[in-house]
């Protein structure tokens, strides 16, 4: 059974319609985002399902996941808070920002908070160089930018995300 195909028939149809019928391999990237929506990562099962939809091998799907940084093949925090520390941001204090944020959350860069809510990572340039320190928050629902941040505003955001998740799952 192809769970992805059964769960999202409409979305898959819309995605495939973007590309010429004989070029449906082009749909591999949008389908990976679709598969990642649920749990924030792509399971072996989902890889095989995408391969089946596109008539390519599971290995080919896996190689795409490995090449691009926004796809994950293992679970992380519910939210991935990704701080840009590239040169222009670093010139505006992004490295110290990241260090202090992690200190505040009691984790190292790359780790997830014990409640499983937030993974903090450093990433490459996000095209927000004039508004550093800045980061993006990636979750199954998509991606949001947060710019001109302070450690205080970032910690408050993490608290909001915790409350949101607590409210959803805790009762």
């Amino acid at each position: 059974m192809n769970i992805l195909a059964e769960k999202y028939p409409q979305e898959i149809e819309t995605i495939l319609a973007k590309y010429p019928p004989e070029q449906k391999r082009s749909a591999v990237m949008p389908l990976l985002y679709l598969a990642q929506r649920e749990n924030g990562y792509i399971s072996r099962q989902a890889m095989a399902e995408i391969a089946e939809i596109l008539d390519i091998s599971t290995t080919e799907v896996g190689s795409i996941i490995g090449f691009y940084t926004l796809y994950y093949d293992e679970p992380g925090g519910k939210y991935r808070l990704q701080v840009c520390t590239d040169l222009p941001c670093a010139l505006r204090g992004a490295e110290q920002f990241l260090e202090q944020l992690c200190e505040n959350l009691g984790i190292q860069v790359g780790e997830t908070t014990p409640d499983g809510i937030v993974t903090v990572e450093h990433v490459m340039c996000l095209a927000g160089c004039d508004k550093a320190p800045m980061f993006q928050v990636q979750s199954g629902d998509g991606l949001t930018y947060y710019e001109n941040q302070t450690v205080k505003s970032a910690v408050e955001l993490v608290e909001r995300l915790r409350r949101r998740e607590g409210g959803k799952d805790g009762r």
Binding site: K18, P20, Q23, R25, S26, A27, V28, M29, P30, L32, Y33, L54, I56, S63, I64, F67, Y68, T69, L70, Y71, D86, L87, P88, A90, L91, R92, V123, M124, C125, L126, A127, G128, C129, D130, K131, Q136, G142, L143, T144, Y145
Partner: protein, 356 residues
């Protein structure tokens, strides 16, 4: 309707991101006129005569690129490069967020000029929210009859689609972008053949940067001579300079080509943070040469022909300013780490130079 900007027009007209306001300001007249009363080659000729050059970094004359399209092989495609991943560059993002319809009209005009019936906008995966906004705006254009089948009662049809990348700097290189759009690893192809003869799905394709395309509607509407009134003789028009690093007012500045580094950094950018002395400039993002900020360098006009005189290139014009407190060893280390992370591993010099 005149304002002080050609590209960042949302700063004059904040409502321009809505289709009604964009049309009230004359939007889509150029495209309609092109489709109903201009031959495709005439559109290419106007763009060629305007002197517009690629704003993504390479600076290749846009109209000349369009004229290279192979008319013996079909279909043709337009791919808009919205991958904007060079550290220091954040201009295409502002265009797509603030003035999206002018960009989309530029895509449409490029497509008409090469008679493509499909155009793809390849956005970096981090621009997820922009892609969703563009999808909605494309739907509005289809509902208004400005995109779709048999436009303005002619035989010409056009669809525009967004496609999200997923975090790979190399996909800003046009042939890597095409590979990625085909669902493969984003690794560059050997060139030639170039995309106008062998592009997306092996078909003739024009790949243009977002900023480049956003210039096109006004050029078609107001003419090549008007556009040549901005900038210098060999570098016509305006450019968006993304200014970042140790300056008081980082941000995007739309200025005529030929503006000096000094004017950008000290007049527009408000000078160096804390009044420190300037030490170096990276005029074109992380992949740029690092130039010492001598008086001569500061007085150099930022255009395609002058920046090479101080040992760099205009590129995408993302100017990173470095002051005296910054260690150059640290800066070089940081930059190399970026390229180590982003090397796609295909070509030996890059892969081996960044290994270990």
């Amino acid at each position: 309707m005149e304002g002080s900007y050609l590209l960042l027009r949302h700063r004059d007209f904040p409502g321009i991101k809505d289709l009604d306001e964009y049309r009230r300001l004359g939007g889509f007249q150029a495209f309609r006129r092109a489709v109903t009363s201009m031959k495709p080659a005439e559109v290419t000729e106007v763009v060629k005569a305007s002197g517009l050059r690629g704003r993504g970094g390479a600076g290749f004359p846009t109209g000349v690129k369009w004229s290279f399209i192979d008319n013996k092989a079909w279909p043709h495609y337009v791919v808009a490069n919205a991958d904007e991943s060079e550290p220091g560059t954040f201009k295409d993002r502002e265009i797509m967020e603030g003035n999206p319809f002018q960009f989309l009209e530029g895509v449409a005009l490029a497509a008409y000029a090469i008679q493509a019936n499909a155009a793809y906008i390849y956005l970096r995966g981090e621009f997820w929210h922009i892609a969703h906004q563009l999808d909605q705006r494309i739907s509005e254009l289809e509902e208004s009859g400005l995109l779709g089948d048999r436009l303005s009662g002619t035989d010409y049809s056009l669809r525009i689609y967004t496609h999200l990348g997923a975090g790979a700097y190399i996909c800003g290189e046009e042939t890597a972008m095409l590979e990625s759009l085909e669902g493969k690893l984003g690794q560059p192809r050997l060139r030639p053949p170039f995309p106008p003869s062998f592009g997306l799905y092996g078909k003739p394709t024009v790949v243009n940067n977002v900023e480049t395309l956003t210039n096109v509607p006004l050029i078609v509407e107001r003419g090549a001579e008007w556009y040549r009134g901005f900038g210098t003789e060999k570098s016509a028009g305006v450019k968006i300079f993304s200014l970042s690093g140790c300056v008081n007012k980082p941000g995007n500045y739309e200025l005529p080509l030929g503006t000096t580094f000094r004017e950008l950094i000290y007049e527009h950018g408000g000078g160096i943070v804390g009044g420190a002395a300037i030490k170096a400039i990276m005029p074109a993002g992380a992949s740029s040469s690092l130039i010492v900020a001598t008086e001569e360098a500061l007085d150099t006009p930022m255009d395609y022909e002058s920046v090479p005189n101080v040992g760099a290139a205009l590129g995408s014009a993302s100017v990173i300013v470095v002051d005296e407190t910054v260690s150059i060893a640290w800066l070089v280390d940081k930059t190399i780490r970026f390229f180590k992370h982003e090397s796609c591993g295909k070509c030996t010099p890059c892969r081996e130079a960044h290994s270990g």
